[in-house]
């Protein structure tokens, strides 16, 4: 009797445990469904549904990867950044402002890279009031952080590949995926770093 009830209890406990444990992972179902239902359009091929190593880690760990995983992948991303051969990181901030304003690029009807979409998510220059708040304000970026070479390098690198600094950042990897050219990234870096840029007034 005792044994039987103990057995029942064990079964009950197992049942409760199975209810309490997280449900099965639906991500493979989701991906299979999307691969069946989506089609390539314009510049956006079906390969865009595939996860690269960074996306896979962020999906797997719900944007909170363990330190070891994050460190390893960030190092890889950082190593893949192509720094300008001429060593110069600052372009023309005026051109940078235009790129920051432009939200086009990499969508179906876009030929390729075009704009940086910066204002979609960030406050940048003081004159544009229509700015997003998904990312932090970049107003007075260098005024607050300093104009030194290390900050310049960080700004350029962050634009090139935000994931090299914060693995599951919501910011696109503009240089890594070819959404912006080297010159465009230099211009954006100037927008953030040039003492004459309105950003630093």
């Amino acid at each position: 009797m005792k044994l039987a009830s103990a057995g029942l209890l064990a079964v009950a406990a197992a049942l409760i445990a199975s209810c309490a444990t997280p449900q099965r992972d639906y991500q493979p179902d989701a991906l299979a469904m999307m691969k069946r239902d989506f089609h390539a359009r314009g510049s956006a091929g079906m390969d865009r549904l595939n996860q690269d190593s960074v996306q896979a880690a962020c999906n797997k760990y719900k944007d909170e990867p363990p330190q070891g995983v994050a460190d390893k992948l960030q190092k890889e991303q950082l190593a893949a950044i192509k720094w300008p051969a001429d060593g110069k990181l600052l372009g023309d901030w005026k051109a940078g402002e235009k790129i920051a304003q432009n939200g086009r690029g990499m969508a179906w009807n876009d030929k390729g890279g075009d704009g940086g979409s910066c204002y979609n998510c960030h406050q940048v220059g003081p004159r544009e009031s229509s700015f997003g708040t998904v990312g932090p304000s970049l107003y007075q970026f260098a005024k607050k952080r300093g104009y030194g070479a290390d900050i310049q390098r960080y700004a350029y690198g962050k634009i090139y590949n935000a994931k090299a600094y914060n693995l599951c950042s919501q910011m696109p990897r503009m240089g890594h995926v070819g959404a912006l050219t080297e010159q465009q990234m230099k211009d954006l870096t100037a927008l953030l770093m040039d003492p004459a840029s309105p950003v630093n007034q």
């Binding site: 999307m34 990499m106 696109p172």
Partner: protein, 266 residues
């Protein structure tokens, strides 16, 4: 250029507005309400009712035998209880997917022709868009109650959730990149957090919607399609199971909230 000038003059006012409760948004809401009183969406509602009741297509049949989930021909309240599972096709369908299904099975249209140009333009409003506007209007004032009884309805919710959080594409975005956190905005557009019930209603409220930009009627199928364009993904199939799953996820999250009928959008 003009825009830049205008924005320049607004900068001071809006910079202040960004910190405090947004008076611009309040002003938008006030006049949005006025515009909802006389919403051109109603023109499409009338058109949709006519399309529902008129025999059409190769089979010269009306849609009055279409089962939107509450029995053949029952339109009242059906929209608020979609997406749901349909045994006849063994899948969960959202309102427009179901209407398309009925147009195929009852009227003899083909999926290919309906999916060819499924979204409104300045010169053309596809028939399913008007029909879904009519159907949606018949749930005005009712609470969303997308069911989670059938095993496939629960699976659609979970799959939809996984789709919602799936990051990929050129910009590493998922739906959650924009709609997974509180109190953010893109440019000046507020971004509701669809993972929370009280905000998820904003994913479905006002749709189908008359869009002031262009003055065209759009449904949720269009809205989700445009999300994926901006997400830099490939294109989701029109009336596909993926979109039904996503709509299941957001609608179930919004269950219990009152649907106000076809709306007006920026």
């Amino acid at each position: 250029m003009k825009r830049a000038l205008v924005l320049g003059t607004l900068a001071v006012a809006c910079a202040a507005a960004a910190q405090t409760p947004d008076p611009t948004a309040a002003e938008f809401d006030k006049f949005r309400e006025i515009m909802e009183q006389d919403n051109p969406a109603e023109l499409f509602e009338v058109k949709g009712e006519d399309l529902w009741k008129t025999p059409r297509g190769p089979k010269n049949a009306s849609l009055e035998k279409c089962d939107l989930g509450l029995g053949p021909g029952v339109v009242k309240g059906a929209y608020a209880q979609l997406p749901r599972y349909f045994a006849d096709i063994d899948r969960v369908m959202d309102a427009e997917a179901r209407i398309v299904h009925c147009m195929i099975t009852l009227q003899g249209f083909t999926q290919a022709e309906l999916a060819k140009a499924p979204f409104s333009s300045l010169v053309r409003t596809p028939e399913p868009v008007s029909i879904v506007t009519y159907v949606a209007a018949q749930s005005r004032g009712m609470k969303f109650a997308s069911p989670q009884n059938h095993v496939k309805e629960r699976a659609a919710y979970e799959t939809g959730k996984a789709i919602f959080f799936y990051r990929a594409g050129a910009f590493d975005f998922s739906c959650a990149s924009c709609h997974g956190v509180d109190d953010k905005r893109i440019r000046t557009q507020p971004l509701p957090n669809f993972t929370k019930p009280e905000q998820a209603i904003r994913a479905v409220q006002g749709w189908p919607g008359y869009r002031m930009t262009g003055g065209v009627m759009h449904s949720l199928q269009w809205r989700l399609n445009d999300c994926y364009r901006q997400q830099r993904f490939p294109e989701p199939g029109y009336a596909s199971e993926t979109l039904s799953a996503l709509l299941t996820y957001v609608t179930v999250n919004a269950n219990g909230h009152v649907y106000r009928g076809p709306g007006i959008k920026r």
